[in-house]
Symmetry: none
């Protein structure tokens, strides 16, 4: 059972590695987020234990990046902080569980086992592009610290655009996916209007919705 341990505190790292090894795990210890990222992309781990505060790339950013790249490896986040906001931020970024230092090693083991049991697929997927992130489970978008409220239609269109990106979503495609009935909204400029609204709400996210004249739209990182 291979485990990645991303922890910059040497002493804590050593303790973790020794303890895990005794339990029959095979831990790899890395000292910073960048290294963790490259290990994760290269090897296959059953679980990753990630410190929140790390050099080069924080645990939060690391997890967000993993998820953006489609990794489904369960992540247990370690942190010294514990406010509801922290917790939400961690879980939102894509961590699966959360442990506050100092922690009991037995509890760490218990959570590890829980993580392995839990199907990784149970976590809501997120589509992301640029600064923009769309959480399909909660149907919310985020970018920077803003979190604009999108209506159902806008969300549907944005979702389609993100899925096709950088490909083009043509008008028929949009109509079919967003409106049950395809025939609607085809002779009218309904789609255009929604696109305009979407654009204005997404101003400032690192994305640009380009119009492809005569065809449809495409979303790309700005």
């Amino acid at each position: 059972m291979r485990i990645l341990v991303a922890e910059d505190d040497e002493r804590l790292g050593a303790v973790l590695v020794r303890g895990l090894r005794e339990q029959g795990y095979v831990p790899d210890l890395v000292p910073d987020g960048e290294t963790a990222a490259s290990y994760l992309s290269f090897y296959q781990y059953a679980v990753a234990i990630v410190d929140w505060r790390m050099p080069k790339l924080s645990g939060l950013d690391l997890v967000a990046r993993m998820r953006r790249e489609g990794s489904v490896v369960p992540v247990l986040m370690l942190t010294a902080r514990d406010t509801p906001a922290d917790r939400i931020a961690g879980l939102d970024a894509g961590a699966d569980d959360y442990l506050v230092k100092p922690f009991d090693f037995g509890e760490l083991l218990a959570r590890l086992r829980a993580l392995q049991r839990r199907p990784a697929a149970a976590r809501p997927p997120a589509l992301a592009l640029g600064e923009l992130e769309l959480d399909l489970a909660t149907r919310q978008v985020r970018f920077g610290d803003r979190q604009p409220a999108l209506t159902g239609t806008e969300l549907g269109i944005l979702e389609l655009l993100l899925r096709r990106s950088p490909g083009v979503a043509d008008r028929r495609m949009i109509a079919v996916h967003v409106w049950d009935d395809e025939a609607d909204a085809f002779g009218s400029n309904t789609i255009d209007v929604h696109l305009a609204r979407l654009r204005s709400k997404l101003a400032g996210a690192g994305v640009r919705i380009e119009t492809v004249r005569g065809i449809g739209y495409r979303i790309v990182a700005a």
Copy 2:
């Protein structure tokens, strides 16, 4: 997010549709394999939920046929049976996941999300010649570090030329390909004008559009 639900049990079908709709999906319910097949070939779905046992065409056969026809729509198979042999048969036929009845609706949702997260389907390959590259999915051309914007008509003509290359595309062919009505743009010099624009926009790509006097055009590596 459009989903196909192929389920002959009316009660279960209704439950699925209602539940999915509440989650923001747009489900289409069909009662048998044949209908499912025709829906699948006509509309674009993000995922298909397919019952194993269905009238006319079983889920297994349906999936096998979809895959044979090149469909890459992720399939979640529902079944009452659960032996290793069944599981293998289902996955072998091309299903992506597998759920045994009776199942928890939450788990169904989780698996749906997991399926949607799968890497996007293979995109149509790009056409290329010399330095020039035409990506039909994004409707963009590239050569070197440039990326000129082509209009729809120009793109259509270029696509045809590239597909024919090094053969000749005659004027009728171009007219038919770009304007589905051939009669137009035949007595006029419209085609010539577009060709001129195409040439100027592609200056510097390693290609040359040759005129075949009295016939049409041909594109070749310069």
